[in-house]
Symmetry: C2
Subunit: 740 residues, 2 copies
């Protein structure tokens, strides 16, 4: 193998790129190589393999289903416990106000938010694989639950008119309405949990990949706007119905604006004060992140102050400020969720299941990456599914991971799921012991907490500028997700956004950039002729590239672009040729008739133009003989006509289609390709295909692409191979012409 | 430029592939080249350009809107007229029976089928660009119209029970029902026409590309089954309601079977005879295609015989065979379609508009290719839109091109739209003069005509085998289109099928083949190591390729596959390293404590193992000093433990990602790529990217992919460049190590 030696010698001396080898087309290359014998596993073997059972396998399955078995026995008490305790307490004091506030968002009484901050968190300890996320109530999911609950059990406007009925009736109505809403929310949690479980067991964790980042950000921004508008009325102390479904944001704002005059000043002042306090707290926590051992638990402080002030000043009775109200003490006995509600909430449950999962898993991934462990998407689905479905028997609403709490849990030194468990225990203490203390807490304080927690999500409006700079398509996904989720509601919005994201992928494969390539002199590198000054095209050879695969949705555009970019349209050329031939035939005919006339005239030479006729006769004498027009006859015609007599010919002899970017071909694409090759052949242009990858060649073979006229010899390993081969062919053709 | 000379010399001598150049990475290459100055058109210029008005432009717009202006003045009467007349008559005699039969399918009285075979055909002459397609009624579209008409104006089952009411009532009911159905059908034609017009003016002709061939074939096969089942009752002379909507096929068959005992034997015999005659006629026409000057017009023959027999034997009254019935003479005055029906039929109108257009345009394209002219998809949309919308004012139903008639029109020598016009004139004659003659025609004859015309479409069941062999994905599209259209109805079926076809594209980009590449010795060619025996991998270098772009839906799978295929998982490696370090630290600690103890023991040498302790002390003496474990201490450990003490290292030093198949990257993909590079860097593996195309580099730049740690120097022009660079780097690194 002297080439090898040459190559190596070359490499060692100069560290250059040196290649010397034959020009390879597919035919030649395959002739020199030997296909490796593959012994594919039969279906039976595969089944047998996957069904094989062993104690090791069983153990690994058990460990993956109950991750706690793996990490708890190895729990390094000394190293981890302190961190987990501090983190657990910090998270627990957030669970409490957030549980109360997000219950408001979910249109259920506050105590159900506390339940949801306890059971699922406890369950997650056993089944979850992430060590840092804080499971529990979350604004976006609570909002989705709330809109379903309101849709299924709407406010009745008559009952809101408190003058016509007495207070007891109104209270009864409210409590009946709320208990129905709880049923809906619980059924929703049950169903979304079951869906998550099913997806998890079916290993459908990959579904979350469709929720690409711009989509999720657009969606959560829209959710934040939803949440914000829904809290306005609590902040202002205005009584309006709550809306759900398409355009609910618009209706909510309109309803609040129309009743803006009934604003409860006391509630508004309390709310605004809380907002200011919370914002200050956030700012301090952010600024002095490193100096503070734990972040200031501003939310619980605000709740405690708010409760105290409300109790002290009797805000509810004196100033008609709405308060949280009845918080029953102790836990409830488990109950089966209302199964009959399931058909009505199925679509919503799917949306909640997917949103909940994707929120949790994206947060979990961030922490896993940071701390160097792995999470299992499918197990996360199962864990969340168990949290939701088992929890729903204890009247919890749908939960997922909360961003703000997770960040606190991680930053305060939480090491394992123990931190979460401790926060759950704290919530439990509140439920069984001191819950009733929070009864005088004004709702406006909770609204303030919810709103301030939206800060991060609302900041995402800045994404628009970011995506504008980086990628217009991702901007489009963001905007589509935002607009759809804002106006259609979060469930249909999400569906629309996912569909839109899919369509952008289609769009990318479908509207590629078409380019003519040229060579960078003295290399085998080809790139866009319009990009660099140095790039040169070989005369007579055009290299065409479209950066996409070739399939039904773009094969027509491909053909069109090819004809336009190369400037050679076989159809037009053939038409021109036919026209020329026809004209030619007519000319011959005319000339013949002319000759006859001339002969006649010669026979009877009575006119003046005898000489001219004779001239004509001589000139057109040999026309019918060899079928070629001589100069003498051409001279008679106008220069414009002259052009038509030269057989129209294409300016190129070879067309190279760069198939580097082609990853798949379907039957429509293969047909288009074949007709391109045939059409160009008719006008004398040889079409070669360069850099066709192995899988595509196999696909083409299966699609019966290759036959006598289209052989594998048209496939070249690279553009440079194809160019060299075309030059060689043209050279020999030219030489052949020359020799003739 | 000595290289150029070298190259050329090499080429001339051996016709080989010779390249000698520096190893190029993106940085180096761009440094040597000069970007071409592009002066992009400003938006203003573009607008100005597109708004510029000239007489030439106006003329070309007029010509494209009214193609007849272009071809009629140049109509070569001598050459074309005879062919057009023969073809027009042949097509005309088919328009008649098909018009009657397809009206039955569309659930409207037969005369409306005749209207639809006249007005649109005439209009198409002016606006159409295809010279060979025969516009008019078509089975699939008529079927879709029929199912909408039946859905909107259902059969009332009570009224079918003729015993309870007298005959006049029943007849009145039927005529009222039929006139309502006509209103629906006409409104549908109007709306679908308007939709086609809008799409045409908006240049949305490309929409038909989404109807890929397997989809259309699956859809039309399902439509054929629909049509077939709907005609069964006419063939058998059974009276059942007509069904529409999902599962209508099943209901129709069940209804016919449940009443199979009421079969009208006379009708069945007539129908069956007709079917046999028509099949024989088809066979003769096919066998003696070349010998027959025109195909035998078997349909009209059957109609005439059927009418004659029915009239002679008084089939209607004597044998209770249903006949066509009242065919009013003359044309109707134009009337505005019932606009108020539009909201109810909007979705169906969209489906009919798209199906009608795609049928016409696919047929037109076939003929255009055969006869060497071009058709304009957008103008076809406009033409069909005018045919439908203007026609609807004259009570036509939705039309498109009929395959069977178009084939006859072309094969009998039709040259231009004149043939179509003549066939329309024939239909007009029938309408105004002899239409009433066909009143005794039995419906079973029309059912026979419809059924025999389905032969070609039903043959498409053979596609299943064909697609099974060529492409499983296209088979899936066929099956999805067929099953969805069969069971969900044609409108939702089409929608489902298009969605499914889109999803297959996503699937193709999302589940690529992952491969490890190796070099074919002595070349710069790299291919799958599992494919050929000759392919070799360089030691320490892995080349990874996924034949897809890198974006949100597959970036995670890409990372996973990369780790699995290359066998190097940085996460696992780091974990192992950390473990080893920890164990190492513990060992050191243990050793230190041991030493302390040993020292203590030395101080009070009362135990038996003094010597052993001393040995230990000496052995572990230098441990804390240089942080490396010496052999002496390692000897104490089991061989299993021993392994952990060698710092875990990856088996490769360089990883080359082949980006040849990557056509686009989004932010998620770029992030994944960046984290791959960083992760591998941490474990000492250098990641290079090879063959990254220009647009992808630009995208990566926009996505802020490049920074201090990830530079353009990681991008190599080709795999071979990257391999050479990695070898050089590793060589010098090894040398550096050696020199130390």
């Amino acid at each position: 193998m002297e080439h090898a030696q040459e190559q190596e010698a070359c490499l060692e001396q100069t560290q250059r790129y040196c290649v010397q080898r034959p020009i390879y087309n597919q035919e030649l290359l395959q002739g020199q190589l030997h296909r490796r014998q593959r012994t594919p596993q039969t279906l039976g073997q595969k089944i047998a393999h996957s069904c094989r059972c062993s104690s090791k396998k069983a153990k690994s399955h058990l460990y993956s289903f109950l991750p706690i078995l793996k990490w708890l026995p190895r729990y390094p008490v000394k190293e981890y416990l302190l961190g987990d305790i501090i983190s657990g307490i910090s998270t627990g004091v957030m669970q409490l106000p957030q549980g109360l506030a997000y219950a408001l968002l979910a249109a259920v009484p506050p105590v159900f938010g506390l339940y949801s901050s306890f059971y699922p968190v406890l369950l997650y300890t056993f089944f979850g694989t992430s060590k840092h996320i804080s499971i529990g109530t979350f604004a976006v999911v609570s909002m989705m639950v709330g809109s379903v609950a309101v849709r299924e059990v709407p406010d009745e406007i008559i009952s809101l008119d408190s003058n016509s009925t007495n207070t007891t009736d109104v209270l009864e109505y409210y409590s009946a309405r709320d208990s129905k809403r709880v049923q809906v929310a619980v059924a929703l949690a049950f169903l979304s949990g079951i869906i998550q479980l099913c997806l998890g067991f079916l290993r459908f964790g990959f579904l979350s990949i469709y929720l690409t980042e711009p989509l999720v950000r657009g969606f959560t921004t829209a959710a934040a706007v939803h949440v914000f508008t829904s809290q306005l009325k609590y902040l202002l102390g205005i009584k309006t119905s709550r809306y759900s479904g398409p355009l609910s944001v618009v209706y909510s704002i309109a309803a609040v604006l129309s009743k803006i005059t009934t604003t409860n000043i006391a509630a508004f002042i309390v709310g605004l004060t809380c907002i200011v306090l919370l914002l200050i707290g956030k700012e301090i926590n952010f600024r002095f992140k490193k100096k503070l051992p734990v972040p200031i638990p501003m939310e619980i402080i605000v709740v405690i102050i708010g409760t105290g002030v409300s109790y002290g000043m009797n805000l509810n009775e004196s100033y008609k400020v709405d308060v949280v109200g009845n918080i029953p003490q102790g836990l409830r006995a488990p109950a089966v969720p209302e199964i009959h509600l399931i058909p009505a909430v199925f679509v919503d449950a799917v949306a909640i299941a997917i949103v909940g999962f994707s929120m949790a898993v994206s947060m979990a991934k961030i922490f896993a990456l940071k701390h160097g462990y792995t999470i299992d998407g499918n197990q996360e689905l199962i864990a969340l599914g168990i949290c939701n479905s088992v929890g729903s028997f204890f009247q919890t609403i749908s939960i997922t991971c909360s961003m703000s709490r997770s960040l606190v849990q991680e930053s305060t030194g939480g090491k394992t799921q123990i931190a979460g468990t401790l926060s759950a225990v704290m919530v439990l203490l509140v439920i069984v012991a001191i819950g009733y203390l929070f009864e005088p807490l004004p709702q406006t304080v909770l609204a303030a907490i919810v709103m301030v927690n939206l800060k991060g999500m609302l900041k995402q409006f800045g994404d628009v500028m970011h995506f504008w700079r980086t990628s217009k398509i991702e901007l489009a996904i963001w905007v589509a997700a935002f607009v759809a989720s804002l106006f259609l509601g979060l469930d249909y919005g999400l569906l629309t956004a996912v569909t839109f994201a899919m369509i952008t992928v289609i769009y990318r494969t479908q509207s590629p950039e078409y380019r003519i390539l040229g060579q960078i002199p003295n290399t085998d590198i080809y790139c866009d002729v319009e990009e660099y000054e140095e790039v040169k095209e070989y005369p007579g050879i055009k290299i065409f590239q479209a950066n996409t695969s070739l399939y039904f949705a773009n094969s027509e555009a491909y053909t069109r672009a090819l004809k336009k970019k190369t400037g050679v349209d076989p159809g037009a050329l053939l038409k021109a040729r036919r026209k020329a031939q026809k004209r030619h035939a007519r000319e011959i005919k005319a000339a013949n008739e002319h000759r006859k006339k001339a002969v006649l005239k010669l026979v009877s030479p009575s006119t003046n133009d005898v000489e001219a006729s004779v001239k004509h006769e001589i000139a057109s004498d040999d026309l019918p003989v060899n079928g070629k027009l001589e100069d003498s006859s051409v001279q008679d015609m106008s220069p414009d006509e002259h052009e038509h007599f030269v057989e129209p010919k294409s300016s190129i002899h070879s067309l190279i289609l760069d198939f580097t970017p082609v990853n798949f071909v379907d039957s429509v694409g293969a047909k288009a390709l074949k007709s391109i090759i045939k059409e160009y052949k008719e006008v004398g242009v040889c079409v070669c295909i360069a850099s066709c990858s192995g899988p595509v060649v196999n696909e083409l073979t299966r699609l019966n692409f290759f036959d006598k006229s289209v052989t594998r010899e048209l496939l070249f390993h690279s553009i440079h191979d194809a160019v060299l081969a075309c030059q060689v062919k043209d050279g020999s053709a030219a030489q052949a012409d020359f020799n003739l």
